[in-house]
């Protein structure tokens, strides 16, 4: 992760009006949710971030907007990573889907939807992937109690 490349990218994003900082060796950019698809397309075509590493979300229960959706991108040529964050509210946790840009987005968005309830606009296959059909709720939200089991097979007395 070369500092020079990160600095250049940070200046470019700041020039575009996007808050960007370098924290612990990674460039972090904050984007508004509706602009995410266009920003990701630009990252892929102009800045050479050809691999989507990860899509996840963070739940900040006391805060409004409640969720931070976080993407990590990697450039296989420059060997740098960038973290893109966007904030969405609990009432409307919708972000654009990146399935048209990256094939790896499909499964990762399904997982994020499973765990946090984030809806990905443009991904029409948001079936449960880590959870199962019939599971109610989103376990990684802070208000889901850890021990609440929803058994598919009724328990027997041993």
């Amino acid at each position: 992760m070369t500092q020079g490349t990160l600095d250049t990218l940070r200046e470019r994003f700041s020039a575009d009006g996007l808050p960007a900082e370098i924290a612990l060796g990674t460039l972090v950019v904050h984007v508004a949710a509706p602009a995410m698809h266009a920003f990701a397309a630009k990252l892929k075509s102009e800045s050479g971030f050809d691999m989507l590493l990860d899509v996840t979300a963070i739940d900040w229960p006391g805060r409004d907007p409640r969720f931070d959706v976080v993407w990590h991108f990697y450039s296989t040529h420059e060997h740098v990573r960038v973290r893109v964050k966007t904030a969405v509210t609990e009432g409307s946790p919708v972000v654009p889907s990146l399935t048209k840009l990256y094939g790896s987005a499909a499964f990762m968005e399904r997982e994020c939807h499973d765990m946090y309830g984030i809806a990905f606009d443009g991904n029409d296959d948001l079936r449960p992937i880590l959870l199962y059909e019939g599971f109610v709720g989103h376990p990684l939200r802070k208000d889901y109690p850890k021990d609440r089991e929803q058994p598919l097979v009724p328990y027997r007395t041993p």
């Binding site: 376990p139 889901y144 850890k146 021990d147």
Partner: protein, 173 residues
């Protein structure tokens, strides 16, 4: 001189002779011996315990010495369901289905703490012990258990199988 008894006593229906019991005990021992040394495990493998399952099936720990080497991946052909690793709620219906598809006699071994009691995954996802879903005959704790523990578990199961009684013949007589 004593008079001869008027009638000769007939053997009653519930009277047992020692010779008969000898035969039925030996029959039970024979069946137990045959079953315990010809276990066909169905390795219901899910998680990390699979590594120790592979190790216990290979040298130097070898389950082949106990006759329990050949895994049968069809429940119809297996008699020992080894549940190796964590069973989650998503997996539980499949575990029930596989158990139901096995024919009698069948035994269940809970391999590892996750199968025994849920392990340290006390949350929404893991079944807290497979005995909440199917009946279990032997529990092998460990995370994952050392191969020696697995062999000990197999030997205890063999003990259980060998000392089981098989009430055929004895009831009908």
């Amino acid at each position: 001189m004593m008079a001869r008894p008027a009638t000769i006593p007939i053997a009653r229906a519930d009277a047992r002779s020692g010779a008969f019991e000898y035969v039925t005990t030996k029959k039970d021992e024979l069946i137990g011996w045959a079953r315990k040394f010809s276990l066909f495990p169905y390795p219901f493998v899910t998680a990390c315990c699979a590594m120790e399952f592979m190790a216990v099936s290979s040298s130097p720990y070898d389950t082949d010495r106990f006759g329990a080497a050949l895994p049968r991946f069809s429940p119809r052909q297996a008699d020992l369901l080894m549940v190796v690793g964590t069973v989650t709620h998503k997996q539980a219906p499949i575990l029930r289905k596989v158990y139901e598809q096995m024919c009698e006699p069948k035994w269940v071994m809970a391999f590892g703490v996750c199968a025994t009691s849920g392990g340290f995954y006390q949350n929404y996802a893991a079944v807290q012990g497979i005995d909440r879903v199917i009946p279990v005959d032997v529990y092998i704790p460990g995370c994952p258990p050392r191969p020696e523990m697995v062999i000990d578990g197999i030997m205890q199961l063999q003990q259980k199988i060998a000392t089981a009684s098989h009430p055929i013949l004895t009831e009908r007589f």
